[in-house]
């Protein structure tokens, strides 16, 4: 069924967060599960890792500061290496 605006918007930003964590913090690419896994251990761990690296308050949650930073222009190279 068509997602309502808020849900669709939320989905888009979830996609952006997922891409961000995959691109820059080595989150394993596992598209289907992300939205359900958002509160799961590995994802929270990656959110915390990102918040720590970028100098944000480490909450493990996608608070407004974190979402704002994710939209900021940046370099395309990962922040943690593999």
């Amino acid at each position: 069924y068509p997602l309502d605006g808020a849900a669709r918007g939320q989905d888009t930003s979830m996609e952006l967060v997922q891409q961000y964590l995959e691109n820059y913090y080595n989150l394993p690419k596992d598209a289907k599960q992300f939205v359900r896994r958002r509160d799961s251990g590995p994802v929270v761990k990656k959110i915390r890792e990102m918040q720590k690296f970028l100098g944000l308050e480490v909450t493990g949650k996608l608070d407004s500061d974190t979402m704002e930073v994710i939209h900021k222009p940046r370099c395309g190279i990962p922040d943690v290496g593999d």
Binding site: F53, L54, G55, C75, G81
Partner: protein, 375 residues
């Protein structure tokens, strides 16, 4: 700071770079200047040196691209990813790619090419991202309110020196604004030579490398500045400069290009080729120039000859070039710079300066090039 996994670094200190293509957002010379200045930032704190190639494979290949551009990391349109670069190594490694869906600028508005280039070239040299928000290697783009104040943070310096060491063991590495090397000590060095000299609205500008001194005859004050702090798009290491007072414009020359500068603004439509002034293709650069406001003539000095340009007709005069020594007796060495003051022409050649009386047609004094610096 961090380095890439397995710490890739260049095994040599003389590196080459090539600007493969250009963005339509900026004049080519502005891109050249931004890249040159970005490399110089890293050069100043390491033993590394960078020389430019214009064809073939260089260690660091710099290019602009949009979307999919031949590597596995497509660009994403305006915003978000601005650029990326690869760690030291062969082929694509060491290269830096800039997303041409960004609006590249030389100012603080838009995305400043110089700032992003310093970051990306840090990657090309082996630095990974830094969690230090003051570091140039911090992943998020941060503009500056005053580009002239740009400095590497200690974190950046520690990072790059962990890979390559410092320029030389006994040279303390600048991590905060340090007066450039031409500060008073070098300024009064009797061996000092100059790149170009021009008047500007009653003052005199003495250009040297990336800086210039600004002398006011009214207050006798002497200021010292980065060229880029006044005119970010002008190159350093200039060849010549002169003022046409009737146009309130200083013309600045480097290589086969020149710029028109009015006050703090580089005029639109520059750089232009020096050959648009009427020089033959054999002339690749000029050494010095001066414009006589009374006669409305501009003199261009190239090696042992000079041309005369008619400012009214805006064309080079027939019967030139002529030998400098014939019409300026006693001025028989290669000239670095020249300007006019108090009715005299002052010709600079290395550490010497010849005061020439154009009426008596003779050299009246021989001075040191830095005689104007109240040493």
């Amino acid at each position: 700071f961090t380095t890439f996994p397995n710490m890739p670094k260049w095994r040599k200190t003389q590196l080459t770079y090539r600007i493969v293509n250009y963005t339509p957002d900026l004049p080519r010379d502005a891109v050249d200047s931004a890249i040159e200045r970005a490399l110089k930032v890293w050069e100043e704190v390491t033993p590394l040196t960078f020389s430019r190639l214009y064809e073939g494979e260089a260690d660091i290949m710099i290019s602009f691209a949009v979307g999919e551009h031949g590597d596995f990391y497509r660009f994403d349109g305006p915003g978000n990813v601005l650029a990326h670069a690869y760690p030291p190594g062969q082929g694509i490694y060491g290269d830096a790619h800039f997303d041409d869906d960004e609006q590249w600028t030389m100012e603080t508005a838009g995305t400043n090419l110089f700032l992003v280039a310093v970051h990306e070239l840090g990657h090309s040299l082996g630095l990974f991202h830094s969690a230090n928000m003051e570091a140039v290697m911090y992943p998020l783009y941060k503009s500056l309110t005053d580009l002239a104040q740009f400095r590497l943070s200690q974190d950046d310096v520690d990072g790059i020196q962990s890979l390559y060491g410092s320029p030389s063991d006994d040279t303390p590495v600048p991590t905060k604004p340090v007066p450039p090397t031409h500060e008073p000590l070098a300024m009064c060095d009797p061996a000092l030579s100059l790149d170009a000299v021009s008047t500007l609205r009653g003052e005199v500008l003495f250009f040297k490398d990336r800086h210039f001194w600004r002398k006011s005859f009214r207050t006798h004050e002497l200021e010292f500045h980065l060229i880029s702090s006044f005119w970010p798009s002008l190159p350093s290491d200039l060849d010549a400069a002169y003022e046409v007072t009737s146009k309130d414009t200083v013309f600045v020359f480097k290589g086969n290009q020149f710029w028109g500068v009015r006050g703090g603004e580089v005029q639109a439509g520059y750089p232009r080729s020096i050959h648009t002034l009427g020089f033959p293709p054999t002339v690749k650069k000029i050494d010095a120039a001066i414009s006589n406001k009374d006669k409305k003539k501009t003199y261009f000095f190239v090696e042992d000859k000079y041309w005369r340009f008619d400012e009214k007709r805006q064309s080079m005069e027939p019967g030139f070039p002529r030998q400098i020594a014939e019409d300026f007796p006693g001025v028989d060495t290669k000239i670095d710079a020249v300007f006019e003051a108090f009715g005299f022409y002052y010709f600079f050649s290395g550490s010497s300066q010849l005061e020439f009386d154009p009426n008596a047609k003779k050299v009246t004094h021989i001075l040191k090039s830095n005689s104007w610096f109240n040493c």
